[in-house]
Amino acid sequence: MNEAIKHNDEYFDYSPLSIAVGVVIGVLMTASFSYAALVLGFSTNGSPVAAVLGWGIMRFFFNRGTIIENNIIQTVASGINTSTAGVIFTVPVLLIRGAEFNFFWVLAACVAGAILGVGFIIPLRKQMIDVDRLRFPSGTAIASILKSPAEGMKKSKLLVAGAALSAAVYFITQFPVIGLPTILPASFDLNVLLGLPDYFNNIWAVSLLSVGIGFIAGRNGLFVLAGGILAYWLITPIMINQNWLPTEMNPSEAVHFIHANMTRPIGIGMLIGGSLMSIVLIIPAIKATVKSFSVKTLGSGSSDELPITLLYKVIAAAFALFFLAGYFTSDISFFTALVVSLVSTVWLLFAGIIVSQATGMTDWTPISGMSLIAVALLMMFLTSDQIVTAVLIGAGVSVAIAESADMMQDLKTGYLVGSIPKKQQKLQLIVAGLGPLISISVMLLIWNSGGTDPVTGAQLPGFGPGTNIEAPQAVALGATIDSIVEGNVPGDKFLAGGIIGALLSFTSIPGLGVIMGIAMYLSMKYILPYGLGSLIGFITIKRKGKRWSEKWGVPFAAGLILGEALLIIVFALLKVGGIV
């Protein structure tokens, strides 16, 4: 037999073993990320780490594992883990506020959100990956990670070098966490060197992960940078210099105020308007895409796509579940519950499209912005006594959005390595519900660790203000809800942003409104290293060509993403274990 041929077996997409490995990795990541998200207020994309762990486990413990099998491992693991942010950034607000609610409905809303998120993107896969050819930078990076070990030493070395470099840099930035002196801060203000005023936001996160994502995002990343420059280096300084702020405030307060009340709401509006215009422009393409669902592939006589009819069932299920959750958790009328569930379902469908576009073009997922709109829309029909319903459905929407974005990234990876989309989607549909179950269990465990008041016997908070675990995102959501209840919804900014976004998406650059909207919405701290990565990518393509950049640049950038992501998880685990 020729030495080159090692296997004449069938090339399987998955086996019980690969699914089991994916579930174990996903469960472990979800538990640690849930705790870290409560403490630190952020979650991270676990896919790169799951891809490498999966490959390692399969190779060293079982002496097997192909590229597409490892793709299923990371699909399953990230499908479980991805709902963490959706749950932890929303549900704790109910406990912190002492609201009365039934946990069954919270769990049901989040589990349903996870399943709906996967279901809602059934028609979007073909549209955004096959037709629109969106980049999905993380998905592209993971395809490179999956292929590198088998592709040869050169690419593997590049991947490892990138990972080692970014892990080392991240580790050095974390010295204070492990009691060592600061050598390299986690972020630095370039204005200190340049002598520019404080309101000129020039803070850079020391994040090679952002640089790597920016590199892969390519030209779109430069537009994100342009959006950041517009928001932070043009609008903000002019507003402050012209003294066009409603009240007197110091520069750092002013920067925060302008972002929270001016540029961020405009960014959210741009995301919505930009996405709407993109949809309008591709209506004929959507029709043709839906028609193509019946195409048979792989010579198997069956389609590689989940049937479009499943989408209709998912929409019906979403509507029914939101209705039940709304009706049984607050004292609301049948009609109000009907309206609220209709609004939630329509918004969920639309938010799924916005998020998939934003993630596909830039890698950023605007979960909190979309959830904020969901809560704002619901509060138009609910009273301040019915906040539980708004938060509960908002949690379901958040989980669904996160799941949609993750599924699209996984499907992009799948496309690049040749996985069958139907198989990936089916598995993610099956395991997605596990994530909310674990996140909510971890959250309750921590909440109950607060104990009881020895005098009154009342439950003491395990997290939230005044405790060691601050749950910053949930606290922020609580403040936002209060603001919405008081009627402080920046509708004019959303509308103006919507018009700008629609106009930009009408230019010759597809989706420009969404790309620049995400830049107005994000913190400049991460836009800057991301933009730097895009600039490096752009120069690399100009000098060396696109093929060279794909062949050698992407594996190194994927390594940069991997190394930092790995260390983030290590530090999260150390935190969970009480070691740091």
């Binding site: 020729n2 090339y11 043009l234 405009i266 393409a285 592939t297 900014k493 010759s508």
Partner: protein, 170 residues
């Protein structure tokens, strides 16, 4: 030159529109004016782009270029169908690297040439073949040579079908 001026107008009107929008309260008159200028410039930009892709002398990639690259893919896949199983190792990735078209580079040209609906018809068909080719490459890298050959063979009729669709449209 004209294009550059149009782009500059779009950028300046965007800055003004964003600025008027950000102010509290929103300056609607200034916002409407700058948005109208931006819309006018965008319409000009779209007209210019249409003209660019219609001009056969321009460097813009068109449907014909995509068609030519598909013929090369077809040729390679036909060569693969006759190759022995042993041939399908990780070297096929390098083989295909310069042959597989980067659809993203052709997308705008094809849409301008034949419209988004027909572009979608072509590309949804081709994408099924491309995914099979990608799967074949993965199988070859993993040293599942027989499976790799099978996937390349399955991709060939799909590429042929895409060529047929383009011929019909042309």
């Amino acid at each position: 030159m004209k294009n550059k001026i149009v782009n500059i107008v779009i950028v300046i009107s965007l800055i003004f529109a964003a600025f008027f929008a950000a102010k509290i309260p929103t300056m609607w008159t200034g916002f409407a004016l700058s948005s109208a200028i931006m819309l006018g410039a965008i319409l000009l930009q779209r007209r210019e782009r249409k003209a660019l892709f219609a001009d056969s002398q321009s460097d813009a990639l068109t449907l014909n270029d995509f068609f030519s690259s598909l013929l090369k893919v077809k040729e390679k896949l036909e060569e693969y169908s006759k190759a022995p199983t042993e041939y399908f190792t990780k070297q096929v990735e390098d083989d295909l690297e310069d042959i597989l078209p980067e659809v993203d580079n052709y997308k705008m040209g094809i849409i301008e040439n034949i419209g988004v609906e027909k572009y979608t018809e072509i590309i949804t068909t081709y994408a099924n073949g491309e995914r099979l080719i990608n799967r074949g490459v993965s199988a070859a890298i993993d040293q599942y040579s027989a499976a790799a050959k099978e996937y390349f063979n399955s991709a060939l009729p799909i590429v042929n079908e895409t060529i047929k669709i383009i011929n019909k449209i042309k």
